[in-house]
Structure formats: C-alpha cells, structure tokens
C-alpha cells in the first residue's frame, strides 16, 4: 500500500492540491490557510495555529491526517503536563521484574543495559510520532497554551530537529518527519523559542460562503434555505454591531451543531422564536443566551439584503 500513496514523500505540489485534498477530507480551508499548510509540508516545519475557539484548529489536523493517509497522534495539553506524559517514561515495574529475574539466574554483568532497553520504554505521543513507520504520522499538540511554560522547553528539541534525547538510550530521530500541528487559544503568549521553530497562522472566522459550504458538508440533511440562513445568521452575529453584545461569538462548531439541532426540531426556516429557543446551542454562557432576545433575533433575521456597512 505504501508505495502507491503519493502522500509518503512529496504530498502536494501546489496550493490548489492542498485545498482539494482537504476538501476531500471534509475541511474547507481558505487559500491563506492552505498556503500555510503547503509550506509546513514542504519546509517540514511545525505549524502553529491560533484563533478563537471553534474555528477549526483541531479539525485541520484530523483532516490532514485523513488527506495524507497518515496516523493522527494527539497530545492534549493541560496544566501540569510533564515530560513523562508527553515524551516517554520507563516501565519501572517491568524493569524491576527484569532485575529480580536476573538476580535469580545469577547476575549478568550488564544488567544496566538490559534494564534500559527499548522494550521497557513506554512511548508517549511525541515519541510515537517520531517512530511512526513509513508514511509517518500527523502529530497534533492541542492547546499548547494550557500546559505551563516549563513544558514548552520539552518541545523545543522535537520541534526544531524532530528528535528526542533519552539519556539512557541516546537520541531518537524521526524516521519520517511527522507533520506537526500546534494549536493555541491564546490564554497566554507562547514562548518565542517555540514560535521561532514554527510557521504561524491565525485562523479567523470563515467568510459566509465557506461557512455555508461547511454547514452543507457537515449537515447534508439541512435544506438549502436553512443552511443558507444559518450561515448568514451566524455570520451577522459575529459582525461589528452585534458581536459586542456577547462575550463570545459562536464558532463554526457551534453553527454546525445548531444546524443539526434545527433539523432535529424539524425546522425548515428560521424564525425569531426558534432562534431564541435554541440559543443555548450557539452560546454557552447564561449572559449570552439572555442577550439573544426576540428583538435582536428578528433584527438579525430581517434585513438580509442590506449590506452591513
């Protein structure tokens, strides 16, 4: 199988090819993003994605993995994440057993090298990504900003050289450099050392047409009218005069979810009532749900043709 996949060595030769491949995987990327992905693949650099929650940062990694036919490895970051959960850990219990057994059979001279051998190594996502066989892997380091700053230091060697040093074993180099995607919600600024090793892309909310395409692709059951309305409504909600009423604008994930909910409620066309009733899907905060009043909803629904100045 591996020899037939063009993805193994030279994945895509043009930016258009990236756009198409991602579309094939159900991800509608705009051209800027596709350019960044294209470069990340060609230059073999990690790609750092920042943007509001729900704009499709994580989804991109999933789509890439299916477009490239590479395994997706995911490292979800959290406060207190340590090297042993991200890189590797020794299987201490097994090592102990080995030592005891060696003792029972009369100690051999190099117990040490026997104990520190690869089979007693527990591989965590970063190491797994380096050792992934032929087509390589897609590694998603999700929400890096959630891990604390000391953790970023563990990433540097990986991001810069695609290798990991294990004191007892030596250096593990990537067989195939993994396609690496980092995402951040910007709860804090990342260290410059990390940023220097990555390409950067800021993901914006999609423009209307792209959002419409996404809703159509993800919720095929939604009629043309409804999906159009959903895309338009959410788009306007995020635009200048309205967005300031809310603490957090709904992302793409929310509009897709909303479209699904509307289908489940047998909605054919949006009206203020149903918008207010389902506001809990668009907004996840009580204040925001309350802010989407009947008037605001009808205001957002009515003047469709009027261009927002």
């Amino acid at each position: 199988m591996t020899d037939t996949t063009p993805a193994a060595t030279a994945p895509f030769n043009t930016i258009d090819a990236v756009v198409q491949a991602l579309e094939g995987a159900g991800y509608y990327a705009d051209r800027r993003l596709a350019t960044a992905v294209f470069l990340a693949l060609k230059l073999q650099r990690p790609l750092l994605l920042e943007g509001e929650p729900g704009v499709g940062k994580t989804e991109l990694a999933k789509a890439l993995s299916s477009a490239l036919q590479r395994e997706l490895l995911r490292l979800q970051c959290y406060d207190g994440l340590e090297q042993r959960e991200a890189l590797y850990e020794w299987n201490y219990a097994a090592q102990l057993l080995h030592m005891r057994a060696a003792e029972a059979h009369g100690a051999s001279s190099d117990v040490e090298s026997e104990v520190y051998q690869p089979r007693y190594l527990i591989r965590r996502p970063l190491l797994q990504a380096l050792q992934a066989p032929a087509p390589g892997a897609v590694l998603l380091i999700d929400e890096v900003d959630r891990a604390d700053e000391p953790f970023e230091a563990f990433l540097l060697e990986y991001l810069g050289e695609y290798q990991v040093s294990i004191p007892e074993l030596g250096t593990v180099r990537a067989l195939v450099p993994p396609v690496t995607i980092l995402t951040s919600n910007r709860t804090r600024e990342l260290n410059d050392a990390v940023k220097r090793r990555c390409l950067y892309h800021w993901l914006d909310y999609p423009e209307r047409d792209r959002e419409l395409a996404i809703v159509r692709a993800q919720v095929p059951k939604a009629g043309a009218v409804l999906s159009e309305q959903v895309a338009a409504f959410v788009g306007r909600l995020r635009s200048a005069p309205y967005v300031s009423a809310f603490q957090r604008a709904p992302g793409i994930a929310e509009s897709v979810e909303w479209a699904r909910a509307l289908i489940a409620l047998d909605t054919v066309e949006l009206d203020p009532e149903i918008v207010v009733d389902t506001a809990g899907i668009l907004f996840k905060q009580r204040d925001d749900v309350a802010a989407l009043t009947h008037e605001l909803a009808s205001d957002l629904l009515k003047p469709e043709e009027e261009p927002a100045s």
């Binding site: 350019t35 470069l39 201490y92 220097r196 300031s244």
Partner: protein, 399 residues
C-alpha cells in the same frame, strides 16, 4: 530546485528584496530574525511569485508569529512590493526614530547621574532639604520615609522611595500546582518517584528500603493588575507601577492593564526586566494618562477582549484606583460582579485610604467597596509592607 538558470537571477533579486523587507518589518516593531528571512526566501521560491496573494500568505506564515502583528505585516507588504522606496519613507513617518536607527542614546536619569561629576560631599545640594544622598539608606532615613506621603515627595525623595519600594518583596500567595516534584519520605502524593526509587535501591545493593514519592509543586497565583491612570491617580500610578513591576518579578503569570477612559494592555511592557525601561514603554502605551476614569467601561472591555486572561478562577485581581469613577455605577456593578465570578479575589488598593475617617462615598467608590473582597491602603511604604501580609491573610480567609 527546477529551472536553475532562471531561478538564479530571480532569486538574487528576490533575496535582496526579502532582506530589505525583513529589515523594514523589524523597524516596524515585528520581531523577525535572519533565519526567518532565509526561510521566507525559501518559502517564496516554493510558492512562486506569480500570485501576489499566495506570496503574501506564505510570507505571513513564515515571518509573523503573533496575531497583533498581522495588520502591520499586511500594510507593509502591500506598500513594500509596490514601491520599497515609498514604503521606507512611510515607515520613517510612522516612527520618527526609524530612519535614524540605533536608538538615540537617551540615557536614563540614573546613568546620567552616575556619569555626572560627583558633588562635594560636604555641601548638600540646595534644593534637597533633609535627605542625605551619600548615606545609603540608613535605618533612620528609612523610617522617616516610611510615613512620608508619596504625594508630597520632592523629586529626589521620590527617587529614593522608588528604590525602597523595589526592595520590598511582595510574596504572591501560592497554591499547589498540578506539577509534581520529588519529595522526601513524607511526600503527600500517592505517586512514586521512580527514578528516586532506583537511586535509593542502588545505594542499598538493589534492595528498596526507601520509597521516595512525589509531591505537588507550589505555584504562585496568577495576578491581574488594573491600574487607574486617570488625573486623580497621576502621581500614584507611576510609583505603583514601578513597585509592582519590581515586587512581582518572580510571580508566575501576571497581566497588567492600565485604565482611564480606555483599557491599555501593559503586559508586554511589564515583560521588560528593567523598571525604567518598563515605565518608558508603559508611558508610551498609555494614551489616556491623567484623563478621566471609566472603570465600568474599562472592565467591560476587559471582559470582551481579554476574558481568557483570567485563568480558571484562580486569578488574584488587584484594582488600584481611588474609586472616583465618572461612568455609570450600574455598569460598574455589573462588570465588577462578573470579574468577581471569574477570579479568586478582587482586592481594591486605595491610595485615598490615608485620610482618617475616609469613607467610600463617591458613587464608584461605594460600588467598589461593596463588591471588592477587601480594601487596602497603598499610599505609603508601611502600607505597602502591610499589603504583603494582608494579601497572605486574605487568601487564607474564607477559602
């Protein structure tokens, strides 16, 4: 890789252009280095120069690493690849010091002082009445300054107080972090410290007599500081900024905002290690210094644009203000309640507390008083020292 001949000629030009563009970016304040510029040239070769939009996107992916730099980049890119000469001139207009380069040697007051001819030690300077400059902070000197009101300090005294303030450490309360570290036998956590176990076992010939465990690290609470820079706070603001900058240097995360009629993010300025440079950068960033106060509106801005800076209800919020707010008290109340819900403690540091019998009667002050977890004085040095102890006490109380 392909078309070597054609590429060569073009690449030379392109590389030149790239270099110039990189430098222009740097002058405009976007951090970029030569490795990036080289990578940008590589990226340009990959994407090709046929489509301007693609090239722009490619350059952006390589050369930018912060969201706020994107606009600068786009404008400069457009200008540069239309006419580099013009772009340079534009840049010069934008930043008066850009053309001159090499940062004018402004010389900090401290440095100037150090370089100036030493004064005759027998004859004190005429303008400075009581402060003895040559005696380095003796105990008596220090005590007198303790109770001096900052507002009434002369310029020389002011500097000395500033230095004193820097010497007071403000211990930000710590909480157990998620991260673990090796502890002795008395480790509170249930996880084994395996590398430690091996070490111990090696000492006793492979027998495990001691089982070291892990315990949680301590980490300081994240800090969010809101400093009032309106007219009535003019004098305090500068000093408090200097004090906070120095005293919280070892704190973990700190976000600092100044507010008057609008909200200014001082966090980047606070990242500068040198206090004088920090004050310079902060002064440059603040556009509404010594103007009016709209605390409610500023908090609203904080909620809308920077809500994610408040991490997981752990943040300790310090509001430094005299509470003389010109905005609507209802707005202030609403925003303050929101802030309270999203942080661990909201403390109000009030310089007006120096007056005996001060009561928070002004509309804004009354709201602040009602909702803040505590009101602390910050008008002189002993108050600042107390601040450290009260902080700790407050964090313990009512957990």
């Amino acid at each position: 890789m392909s078309v070597p001949q054609l590429g060569d000629a073009r690449r030379g030009k392109l590389a030149d252009n790239m270099m110039g563009f990189g430098r222009a970016l740097r002058r405009a304040g976007v951090r970029t280095d030569s490795a990036r510029i080289a990578l940008a040239a590589e990226a340009a070769a990959l994407v090709g120069v046929d489509s301007r939009l693609d090239l722009a996107a490619a350059m952006e992916a390589v050369m930018i690493s912060r969201e706020q730099d994107r606009l600068v980049f786009r404008e400069l890119f457009d200008a540069w690849f239309r006419d580099p000469e013009l772009a340079n001139k534009l840049l010069a207009q934008m930043l008066p010091s850009a053309e001159g380069k090499a940062e004018p040697a402004k010389g900090r007051p401290r440095v100037r002082e150090a370089l100036a001819a030493p004064r005759d030690p027998a004859k004190p300077a005429q303008t400075e009445r009581e402060i003895d400059f040559d005696a380095a902070m003796t105990a008596s000197d220090r005590r007198r300054l303790h109770h001096a009101d900052f507002n009434a300090l002369g310029a020389a005294e002011y500097r000395l107080v500033e230095r004193l303030a820097r010497d007071i450490a403000l211990p930000v309360p710590t909480v157990p972090a998620r991260r673990l570290r090796a502890a002795g036998d008395a480790g509170a956590h249930s996880r084994m410290h395996w590398p430690g176990v091996w070490h111990e076992a090696a000492r006793t010939g492979g027998e495990m007599l001691r089982l070291p465990r892990l315990s949680r690290r301590k980490q300081p609470l994240p800090l969010l500081v809101l400093v009032d820079v309106s007219g009535s706070m003019e004098r305090y603001a500068r000093l408090l900024l200097a004090f906070l900058h120095a005293a919280t240097r070892r704190a973990g995360r700190r976000d600092v905002f100044a507010f008057g009629t609008q909200l200014t993010d001082l966090t980047p300025a606070f990242r500068i290690a040198d206090t004088d440079a920090m004050l310079g950068a902060a002064g440059e960033a603040i556009a509404d210094f010594a103007g009016g106060t709209r605390l409610g509106g500023s908090l609203g801005e904080l909620r809308q644009r920077h809500a994610r800076r408040l991490t997981g209800r752990r943040t300790l919020v310090l509001v430094i203000s005299d509470g003389l707010d010109t905005g609507e008290p209802e707005t202030l109340e609403r925003e303050l309640l929101w802030l309270k819900r999203h942080s661990r403690r909201v403390l109000w540091l009030n310089p007006l507390l120096r007056y005996e019998g001060y009561a928070p009667l002004a509309r804004g002050a009354a709201v602040l008083h009602r909702h803040a977890d505590a009101m602390l004085a910050v008008h002189n040095l002993s108050a600042l020292e107390q601040l450290a102890t009260s902080l700790a006490a407050l964090m313990r109380a009512g957990r």
